[in-house]
């Protein structure tokens, strides 16, 4: 569901890590555009720069050079606080290890980011409960993360990422810790959210199952984009 509205535009992104002795070139001139409604996947061997690129797009890290324009805003000109606000309001994250807050219930984990946005209690409740229903998480609201299966935890993590209706959801190796059946159901769920709610997804993965669902595949090699290909099957 590509509407050709550009959300992210990366121009000549370079990222080096300097530990004082060795400089590691993680990204070596990335140019990439992500459009609203994309359901894209970044693939490549370990160390090719997938996670680094995801972190830079998600405003979790800054590029050494190059520009990141997100929804018209240049990350280079924003303060850390302004980047926090963009992450809070416009970007959702789903991590490999679920990374739910262990003292919060499933409901509260999803609600937390709405609380950060100062959404009133009644609206928070309505949004979370509707989403839980849509994501088949009903009945699990009061369970703590340790009381949920891996797949259920990842569903809650996805709910947390999409509950604010963000422009972009970044998903880093989200199928790494679940079985293929669960991975399939998670991807179907995200595809549904992409189609129904027009939420843009960008995955970083090794998992070929994810590739099957993607409409665009970005192949990275040695810190550069090796190839971008559209999947005719999923368009």
């Amino acid at each position: 569901m590509n509407t050709n509205n550009e959300i992210v535009s990366l121009t000549n992104i370079i990222k080096n890590y300097d530990n004082g002795k060795v400089i590691t070139k993680a990204l070596q001139g990335i140019d990439l555009k992500i459009y609203q409604g994309d359901f894209s996947v970044m693939m490549g061997p370990s160390g090719c720069g997938k996670s680094t690129l995801l972190n830079i797009i998600g405003a979790l890290d800054r590029a050494t050079s190059g520009s990141v324009i997100f929804n018209g805003k240049d990350f280079n000109s924003l303060t850390n606080k302004e980047l926090s606000i963009i992450r809070r309001n416009q970007i959702g994250f789903v991590f490999q290890n679920y990374n739910l807050l262990p003292v919060l219930t499933a409901y509260e984990n999803a609600e937390y980011v709405l609380m950060l946005q100062n959404i009133p209690l009644s609206q928070r409740k309505e949004k979370v409960m509707n989403l839980f229903k849509e994501m088949e998480l009903e009945g699990l609201e009061n369970r703590l993360p340790r009381e949920l299966s891996g797949g259920q935890q990842q569903r809650v993590a996805i709910a947390r990422a999409v509950v604010t209706n963000p422009l972009l959801v970044l998903a880093d190796e989200i199928t790494a810790n679940v079985d293929s059946k669960t991975a399939q159901s998670l991807l179907m769920l995200m595809e549904k959210l992409n189609k129904n709610n027009n939420i843009t997804f960008l995955f970083s993965t090794h998992d070929p199952i994810v590739k099957k669902f993607a409409r665009k595949v970005i192949l990275l090699k040695d810190g550069r984009i090796d190839k971008e290909e559209l999947s005719s099957e999923n368009i």
């Binding site: 998600g58 979790l60 926090s84 992450r87 991590f95 262990p102 950060l116 946005q117």
Partner: protein
Amino acid sequence: MKTIEVSWRNLWRNRTRTYVTISAVALCIGILIIFQSMIVGLIDKAVFTTTNLVVGEVQIHADDYLNDRSLYKYLKNTEKIKSIAKKNNIGLVERSYGFGLISSGTKSAGTQFWGVNPESELMHFDFAKHIDQGTFLSSSSSNKIVLGNKLALSLAAEVGTELVVFVQGADGSLGNELFYVSGILKNVADNIDRSAAIMLINDFNILFSANNMIHEIALNSKGNFEAEEIQNLMSAEIKNVEIDTWKQLMPTISLMTEKMSVFMRTLFSLIFTIAAGLGVMNTMIMSTYDRMREFGIIRAIGATPWRIIRQVSLEAIILTFIASIIGTIVGLSVALYFQKYGFDVTGQGNLSIGGVVMDPIWKSSVSLGIVLLPIALMMLISTISSLYPASIAARIKPVEAIHYKK
């Protein structure tokens, strides 16, 4: 879900650590309450003993009498003083002093003789009730004498012992008389214990050929007035006399009450609050490093550093609040016990501070301030102590924290 609820749950993730920290902080609060109440109790007792036993809140003497205790330096007009005291309902006693020699058998000693009115002394001061052996004087105790306990010891005198007294009278004549020991005082103050021989003022007048020479008026409102208020009251109307508060008369005790108590309370408060503060800081630092990844996630999903600082500080405040409740219950219970029953220091010999002999039962004095001060200090120090770990958590780079491994 409120931040306070999240903080509460976080606090109990590592129960053992939380219990240990709460116990340590509670112990510090409890000890501070007990210690401060004991110090205040000691100081209160010192002031009470000083003013109620014999000195009074204010004393009036003739000019320069305290430098040169001459028989002839007596108060000329006592009626005006009496009338002001009566009008303001302030207790008043008149005392005459003279020096001479007292002997019993082969033993003799230089002595300060007191001429007193026993009814007034009993009514307004306590030292007349501080009798170890025998009885104090009454209006019919002619030729009876009450001795300080160390003086009695040096004279080997007991109740009923005959004493020979030699003095130089106001008219230059030699005054001598036989007296009998009516009573021996308990410890009062070093100077009284060693040299006081107390007799009826009429006997004093006869012995010293004096015509009602009053050398000292001691005033005691028993706490109804501050000493300085009485001093100002008298100074406004009485001239050419020395009017001194007990603080001026007994600077050691005054120094102790005003400076030492503040110093000791401050010192101990600092030691215990810093110790507790370091404990809280240590706990919060460990907790922060344990949860580094979580803070990274919270930062990643958009929490500001300020929100994380608030959460970590709130955890420290809740922890201290719980410790305050426990510490107050324990500390207050012990302090109240000591306020009622006291702590017996008889076995350590006489407790004497600045020459004033204290009651051997050391009691605490509990007040709201004594309870609230340690709690307020702990709350403050805990909040400050939590800022360092909170700032560690708040300064986390999300991308590093998410991949942080314990």
